[in-house]
């Protein structure tokens, strides 16, 4: 069952319960890597909970710190302007 996630990654991204950072073997999440952070914030700019994204607790903690730093330096929005 675990191997099925790799074939149609796009479809099952939010339902698969595999930490994407563990899968990439990332020990560190960089706050200026906007490309990596963007999929993990909602349309309104909120952080996607790990219960949805499937991230492990360790990486979710690093992720929140990274997103908050990115927000502070205007790489990511606090809230979406309209």
């Amino acid at each position: 069952m675990g191997t099925m996630g790799t074939t149609n990654k796009k479809r099952s991204f939010f339902s698969q319960k595999i930490c994407r950072f563990c899968a990439d073997k990332a020990e560190y999440i960089d706050f200026h890597d906007v490309k990596a952070l963007k999929p993990l914030i909602s349309e309104r700019g909120k952080i996607v909970p790990s219960r949805i994204s499937g991230n492990c607790a360790k990486h979710q903690r690093q992720l929140t710190n990274a997103i908050k730093r990115a927000r502070n330096i205007a790489l990511l929005p606090f809230a979406v302007e309209h």
Binding site: T7, N8, K9, K10, R11, Y28, H32, R69, R71, N72, I73, A74, L75, L76, P77, F78, E81
Partner: protein, 138 residues
Amino acid sequence: MRSYQSVLILKPDFDEAQVDEALAGITELIQGYGGACLKVDKWGKKRLAYRVKKNRFGYYLNIYHTCENEQVPALEAKYKLFAPIIKFMVLRLDDKELERAMGSGEAEEKAEEGENKEAATPEAATPKAEAVAEKTED
């Protein structure tokens, strides 16, 4: 003496010469507080996620430097008064982070190679995904 990372946003209408001039000024500031620049990255002009002092764009500079521990608030105050800077963030680095930062030149090259590979694979992967989607719809 600790190591720090300063991320600075300069005014967007700066050309390379003006950026270098501002950078020289910033280096002087850091040296004035007993620090030294270890590494400077120019992230370049980027779109800001929200408006900062009425600017929609900004020129990002990333400086790894050392500084006297007690002088950091003073350095931040100087950043605030330094006209070309519209926003800044100073982060304290521990040994591990510093090591990573100093080695990131090589790592970035590797990452770029990795990105290229990744960029190539989704194109190859999407037809499969579509095929799967079609099957499930049937």
